[in-house]
Amino acid sequence: MSTSAHTSPEQHPGPSRYEARCRALLRAYPHSWRREREAEILGVLLAMQNDDGGSTGTSPGGSRRQTPSWGVQADLIAGGVQARWERGWSFLPASIRDRVAVLATVLGAAACTVIVVFGEVAWPWLYPVAGDSLAPPLVQSPLIVVYGWWLLALISVLAGRATLARGFLAAAAVTSVILSATVFIFTAAPLAVAAALATIGRLPTGRSVRGWMAAAYILLTGALMLTQRTDDYGMSLQWSPAGALYQMGPGSALQDLSVGVVGVALVTGLLALAFRRSWVPAIVVTVVPYLYLGYFARYGGVQNGLVVSMLPVLLTAVVLLAVAGAVWRKHRLTITLAATPPTSISTPGQETRRS
């Protein structure tokens, strides 16, 4: 495409109210971006104003707009803010920014889910004595607003709405900063950083994010398990029913056993993630031990005797073995199908599935 000039820009009449408004909105973009692109995007905006048959820049009656529609104005402001933010991180390669965004998103979403489900709802019920002191009821925590933004972002990502998810993440970052003066800083600050980092790159959407979410849950569970013995403040206790067993007394054999069960859950979850790339078994093996061990902490323990206390542990082990067996069978089937020529495994009228 050669460069040509049908009409000089200088011959165009003075800026209309519409154009002046567009130029004002474009100030949302960084100066370097405007130097490269302002004339170009302004041409698009002015063409949209003149397009009577279009639907993006004209008023409902088809007359020329005096100002861009509210949707276009919001889109320009959001685009400008995003361009400023991304240019600030342009020293990092795009592939690195994308990976950072993915990790920050799934770890933040996993942490918020664990906090809400286990820390704020399940654990205070499962372990009421410590719950009264460490985990306030959900409605009393201002951070519930931040958790809500994160969960909405997670739902948006899973639904394939990456742009909407970035909006929720930006809201989570701003809300975390605002609330950081009044809430537990060691919760608000990491969530603010994670939300900010989640917006520096592209987010995966739909099916591809599920494996990452499963990995994040497993990593978080592992971190809680590893820190519960050294965390004097009790954060890992608050977020993990299994961590409550720590309060049953140092040196307890049941305590060590419970940690071992969580460890088995982690290994099984990682196997499920590696072989199946499916989030369901990973989530199951992460959640089920938590619930059993939480039940164990509330209703079992040394008061009810070793046999009663061992039942939930044994049930957990059965569930883990069943899931591991199912994963292993599926993995072996996948290997067999992949290694066998299609002609030798397909028979007329019989369908062969690959997974």
Binding site: V44, A83, R99, G160
Partner: protein, 110 residues
């Protein structure tokens, strides 16, 4: 990290550029036409996507002109862009073929 699935607006943008280079406003109209009015890109979204696709090497600027005092910059698919669009089209085509086969089989057995 596995390559993420291509989102529909990205697919439509690359498709709009498959035949010939296009400028920004033409891309908005083409995407709306290709999606039968379902996807209407706004300018901020369009230029965010163009920046990203240029950065990924899937499209490139191919020239510019001034029409009625307005700058038009044209974009074209790169070789990587063509192969990416072909790959995504093949994936979608395979899904469509599989769905059509199953639906025909369902109709035959019903």
């Amino acid at each position: 990290m596995a390559s993420p699935e291509m989102r529909e607006p990205t697919f439509l943008l690359l498709t709009a550029l498959a035949e010939q280079p296009q400028h920004g406003y033409a891309l908005i109209q083409e995407v709306e036409h290709l999606s039968h009015g379902r996807v209407r890109l706004k300018p901020g979204t369009l230029y965010g996507a163009l920046d990203r696709l240029v950065g990924e090497g899937l499209i490139a600027q191919s020239g510019e002109e001034v029409v009625e005092g307005r700058l038009r910059r044209y974009y074209t698919l790169t070789t990587d862009g063509v192969s990416t669009l072909e790959r995504e089209t093949g994936r979608l085509q395979a899904n469509v073929n599989a769905a059509a086969t199953r639906l025909r089989a369902r109709g035959a057995t019903a």
